[in-house]
Amino acid sequence: MKQKSLLLIVLTLVLSLFLAACSGSNNAGTNTNNTNNAPAGENNEEPAEEDEEATTEPVQGGDLVIGSTGSPTMFNPLYSADTASSAIEGFIFDGLLTSDTAFETQLNMAESWDISEDDLVHTLKIKDGIKFHDGETLNADDVVFTLSIPLSEDYDGPRAGYFEKIESVEKVDDLTVKVTLNAVDPTIHIALGYPILPEHVLGEVPVAELGEYTEFNTKNPIGAGPFKFESWEDGQFVKVVANDDYWNGRPYLDSLTYRIIPDADALMTALAAGDIHYYTVPATDIATVKEWEANGQLKVESGLALSYTYLGYNLRNPLFEDKKVRQALTHALDRELIVESVMNGDGEVADVPESPLSWAYDEDVPRFEYDVEKAKAMLEEAGWTPGADGTLEKDGQKFEFTLKTNQGNKVREDIAVVVQEQFAELGIKVTPDIMEWSAFLADIDPPKWNFDAIILGWALSTDPDPSGIFHSKEIEEGLNFVGWSNPDADKLMDEANLTMDRDERAAKIQEINRIIAEEQPYTFLYYPNAHHAMPTNLEGTEFHARDEFYKINEWWLNPNTEN
């Protein structure tokens, strides 16, 4: 008996070895068996014919399980710095302003937003009758309280930057707040639209202790958002339930469960089994998910993500001093091929540090298309000639450098190899160095700048201001790792941040991007796509490049379309 069962185990193991070996990329089970014991809320049956009579009116009900590899840290938007926390804060809290899919600022909990002639005084009127989850009314006191926290000397959270141009915040009447600035700030809508915290709950807590006030931050966060916090099981899930009194109407979904599965592969299997309903799929897994979509197991909404990936050069290194050399390197790299082969066509080649989605984007910039011959000629002009071993040399220095990127991002690791191969054709020796994330950041952060070249990405904000990364004042301590400094661009960035006039700003930012494209402190690689996998019967969603849960209060599950 024992021997039999043992043999069975052996056979199973051996068999599964073969199965996995044969099935290659398809080993992420395509669900063809119809089973009736699927997890609640999902049944994996063959998709039924579209019902002509299907409901088009949203209905209430259902629990949507959202998958995430990251765990949240706390639920206080003024103190958290990770994406999982932000996502859940978006369910619990709400702000006076919001930004739509075109990144235009819209009124949200604000009735009106008036701006003075000199752009320095902003008067916001709050909609009447908005309630926090505990039933207290949200009024001017709460807004004044929230905006005053980051202005306090004692504030030690990461978000003071958004609020630095605010001089004072005053209550005019119960529903009106006046915010006075000390300088014009075209990005002020971010601060003015920040999620509102309840003064009646937190007002007594000293600002110095707010960041550690777990009573609110982790145990019982109270906001005015579409969902109420219910529970957080550490390392397992966070559950929020519909707020019946939401000012914009009760959400259709009864609840959201934000489930944490740290391993990306395991998360994919949970999606296949229907244990997870909604997930923003990483580029590496998109082919598999598209297959499942073809089988009718789920649907995918895709669009350009608000970010770009780049190859950055340490301009302190004499190799990269000459603009001509950097332009030649861009010429030498087939970025179309990178998008086609490494990304499976899942993205677009980038030339500027601005998303095509932004109102400030302009395609009229200097471009350096793939052209190896031109690259060779330009390098020769710059004084680099092949040495005895074929490696380019100039004044006795060989053109060889290390290319660092972070471990665990397969696309970046692959790109490093493509760069190595393509630059080798020119006689440039590149050594890829794949590093642990924190170690990598510590190396490129000020004041070390211990790198020759890096592959990294930037997530963009809905505001197109590039100064956080390209202004020379960010070299010493900020994120201008590569040390790019250009007085003309600096001046334009300062000017662009001193006007509220949209057209004027757009013109200046486009000019800045033209300078950056010409100078090539980075070889811009690509804009990736974002993919949201969801149940086939989830309706009311709208793709937003920055917010994977855009208008989640309007999402609903259609009971009439078989899933």
Binding site: G211, G235, D275
Partner: protein
């Protein structure tokens, strides 16, 4: 015996002290810090500095160490740097039950399977059974946990839908023992495979050694049945070295299960250790390091004591 235990425990104090100094130094030497993860153009360096000041991250290392050690001596492990305000002890206590449950179940499972197979293997050396057991245990040793785990999830959770893909309990369901067991089956089995393989090999070689002894021949000569010979005389002596392995398995309670916990979304200590290391959450890393060091010391002590109990020839 008692005096021996006391002596050993006293010796552990300088050892633990040394371990804390060493691990503190190593962790501080690791590049980056809790703020290096805040890479966001909207977070100013002033904000980060304020935060570092607040937690004394820029103080000289020896000062940081003494602050930490003196707090720990009073049983205060401090608060997390990442989950601000949350006591480290609370974070650990939240997860300890999950880890213990998984560990105990998988160890029991490993023992139940490994020891009988090890003994059978030894008794029928060079038989088909022996080869089968050997090949299987080598396969078990050689295949990585994450792979076995994912394959089993694919088969039992996705295709057959008999078992959940992960987690410790069904979402939004009432607590039930059955449900917990349901969720425990796969991770405990995967975790047991590696131990199983090792224990089987260990038991086998140890039993082979014993079966050759003179006293076994004497026992047979007395006319005892083969089973009695093997299990009464042989097993008792054969298991002595195996016990040592248990003592040495104890520290694995903390680090040994990271991969399984990650794949099965099982929030245990291993995963906490892993996440904290990546986030450079120093207080959590240090607390767990000290706890595992204590486990190593205790584990060794327990192994030695068990040795004495099982083997009357050993005197302390």
């Amino acid at each position: 015996m008692i005096s021996y235990i006391i002596r050993r425990s006293l010796m552990a104090i300088p050892l633990l002290f040394g371990i804390t100094v060493l691990s503190f130094a190593i962790i501080q030497m690791a590049p980056g810090g809790p703020t290096s993860l805040m890479m966001d153009p909207n977070i100013s360096s002033e904000d980060m500095k304020k935060y570092e000041e607040r937690y004394g991250l820029n103080d000289p290392i020896h000062e940081q160490y003494f602050t930490w050690v003196s707090n720990m001596a009073t049983g205060d492990f401090g608060e997390s740097l990442i989950r601000r305000g949350v006591p480290v002890s609370e974070m650990i206590m939240n997860r300890l039950p999950n880890t213990l449950l998984l560990m105990i179940v998988s160890t029991v499972l490993a023992v139940i399977v490994a020891i009988p197979f090890g003994v059978i293997s030894a008794r029928k050396q060079y038989s088909l059974t022996d080869y089968t057991v050997t090949v299987t245990s080598f396969l078990g040793l050689a295949t990585p946990n994450f792979w076995i785990g994912l394959v089993l999830i694919m088969v039992f959770a996705v295709q057959l839908q008999w078992l959940p893909t992960g987690g410790v309990a069904t979402l939004n369901a009432e607590f039930s023992i059955l449900d917990r067991i349901h969720h425990l089956i796969l991770p405990a089995f995967v975790l047991a495979t590696a131990d199983m393989a090792g224990l089987t090999r260990y038991t086998r070689s140890s039993m082979l050694e014993v079966l050759k002894q003179d006293y076994m021949r004497t026992a047979r000569a007395k006319g005892l049945k083969e089973n009695k010979v093997t299990y009464k005389h042989g097993l008792r002596n054969g298991l002595i070295p195996v016990i040592t392995i248990f003592g040495l398995m104890l520290p694995g309670f903390i680090g040994g299960s990271v991969i399984v916990e990650k794949i099965f979304a099982w929030p245990g200590i291993g995963l906490l250790f892993f996440d904290s290391a990546f986030q450079r959450d120093y207080p959590v890393i240090m607390a767990l390091t000290v706890i595992s060091a204590v486990f190593v010391v205790i584990g060794n002590l327990v192994a030695d004591i068990l040795y004495a109990i099982f083997d009357p020839r050993i005197e302390y």
